[in-house]
């Protein structure tokens, strides 16, 4: 369908309408409740929903605008996430030059992804940046606790830059007779991941008794995990019209994303427990920092991309 001269596939338009419809319903319900009941938990919900509005607008831009704009928006989000991770982890003064080099890795990585230089994209951070970080650290000459920095900085780069940058590769997925395009794939990935977080939380609150990782996160329960994964799998089937996959493949993708999203969430939670912090920042009101929201999507993005490629090629 054409809107102001832009072509937006009808499936994508439909799902965006659903997202904003849900947000309108949530906002009006919470707004109505907060008129009568001014408790902290209600105003917390209102703040959270307002932040979801901003996130939904961002997703709409990435999914519908030309690939170059989507790439720039994603690169900036990744920059914010990397800045947050580098800020919460105590590093040495001698590491500062490596931090600057890490920031410069973002435009390069996203340029490679945008141009679809697949092999360079694959090796740039795990190989080139890994060596660069170590060499720069060696050249600074400060050997005290150098090994720690050599380990931490490439890990953070992989987690916050390399993994989410796979989302840009979705712009290059070409399947004949698949008309929805990259926007549909991105929206599918984000909806599954976000709703997986929400449903794991909701099922946990409703039925949760036994804690799955008591030392990492007190809010994660077996019931929440299993309920969330089942919901994500079913949602995968429902949303399969956004992808070139059939129902069974879509079910497997939903199932995997449910499990991997949980893993991503737990990894960032564990890091936060180690650093004795609750949130990585207070950038997004009601949610915490950018990394608190991106914790599961950094892992589900590459998983989704490679599963998709696997299913398309076989």
């Amino acid at each position: 369908m054409d809107i102001f001269g832009y072509y937006i596939p009808i499936e994508l338009l439909f799902i965006l309408c659903v997202i904003f419809g849900v947000l309108i319903i949530c906002s009006s319900i919470f707004g109505f409740i907060s008129l009568m009941n001014k408790s902290d938990s209600v105003s917390e919900l209102v703040v959270r929903t307002n932040s979801w509005w901003k996130i939904a607008i961002g997703i709409t831009v990435v999914a519908t605008a030309p690939a170059i704009i989507g790439t720039i928006v994603l690169a900036y989000v990744v920059f914010v996430a990397l800045r947050e991770m580098l800020s919460i982890i105590p590093l040495r003064t001698a590491d500062r030059i490596v931090l600057v080099a890490s920031y410069f890795a973002i435009p390069i990585q996203f340029y490679l992804a945008y141009k679809n230089y697949y092999y360079l994209f694959q090796i740039f951070i795990p190989l080139v940046m890994f060596v660069c970080v170590s060499i720069i650290l060696v050249l600074t000459g400060e050997t005290n606790r150098i090994g720690r920095s050599m380990a931490i900085i490439p890990t953070i780069l992989i987690l916050t830059v390399y993994m989410p940058s796979h989302m840009v590769l979705l712009f290059h997925v070409n399947v004949p007779e698949f008309t929805v395009g990259a926007g549909g794939l991105i929206v599918f990935l984000i909806i599954i991941t976000a709703s997986n977080d929400i449903f794991q939380f909701t099922w946990g609150k409703l039925l949760g008794k036994r804690k799955i990782l008591p030392k990492i996160s007190p809010n994660k329960t077996w019931a929440g995990f299993i309920g969330g994964v089942i919901t994500s799998s079913l949602l995968g089937i429902v949303l399969s019209f956004l992808t070139p996959l059939n129902y069974i493949e879509s079910f497997y993708v939903g199932l995997s994303l449910g499990i991997i999203g949980f893993v991503g969430d737990s990894i960032i939670s564990a890091v936060k427990r180690d650093l004795k912090i609750k949130d990585t920042d207070d950038l997004i009101p009601g949610h915490g920092g950018a990394m608190d929201r991106l914790d599961s999507i950094v892992l589900t993005t590459p998983a989704f991309y490679y599963l998709l490629i696997f299913f398309i090629e076989n």
Binding site: R96, V100, I277
Partner: protein, 218 residues
């Protein structure tokens, strides 16, 4: 003309650069709008401190606010002096005042009597990141001389990592400018006032850490 140029630079360039690239966030800046004249008292770790505080001020307050800086450090070249005067309305004070001139304290007192607001770092110089060293007495004396002028405590977090002492490389990392509410000195005793000021800044520091660390781990 000069004021328009400076506030243009701050709103178009400095503030977006600080928030979107460096990662500075400003907390509790509302009380600044109501305060007419004030002395901002902050901890000092980096050259970024003054830039960030100036950028946080509303532009009609900014043109009336002077940063107090060391003339021994910044007064070396006429170029830096011009820049400091243009963007920070800097009052450069030197350790040894020339005979016949006003002493530092008298100079600052005169500026306050003229209606100017001040930004002061009672630690004197940029210390080690994260630690607040002992305060110098000047601020307490100024507050005693001008009981109608409130002080605004400010805690600056993280700037020591963005641009530490003796470094030129600027690294974008999250930092926070946390303003307190305007307060008046309660006593005439300089020692007690100094302790009050320090306590307020330490309170803001604690608040900052509490915001980060309040995890509900039961």
């Amino acid at each position: 003309m000069k004021n328009i140029f400076v506030s243009f630079i701050y709103t178009i360039l400095v503030r977006p650069w600080l928030t979107f690239i460096i990662g500075v966030s400003f907390h509790n800046i509302k009380p600044l709008k109501d305060a007419n004249q004030f002395i901002i008292v902050a901890n000092h770790n980096s050259h970024f401190d003054t830039v960030s505080i100036m950028a946080a001020l509303p532009s009609n307050k900014r043109k009336n606010t002077c940063a107090v800086a060391s003339g021994d450090y910044f007064g070396k070249s006429p170029f830096t002096v011009t820049l400091m005067k243009l963007f920070f309305n800097a009052i450069l004070i030197t350790k040894k005042t020339k005979p016949g001139h006003l002493s530092n304290l008298e100079l600052l007192d005169q500026r306050i009597k003229e209606g100017k607001s001040l930004i002061m770092y009672p630690e004197g110089s940029r210390g080690n990141p994260g630690t607040i060293s002992s305060f110098k007495k000047g601020i307490a004396k100024l507050l005693k001389e001008n009981p109608s002028v409130p002080f605004i405590p400010v805690y600056l977090d993280g700037f020591g990592r963005v641009l530490p002492k003796n470094k030129v490389l600027i690294v974008p990392l999250i930092c926070k400018v946390r303003f307190g509410s305007p307060l008046f000195a309660t006593t005439n005793d300089t020692k007690t006032t100094l302790e009050e000021v320090k306590k307020e800044i330490l309170n803001l520091k604690q608040k900052n850490e509490r915001d980060r660390n309040q995890f509900d781990f039961n």
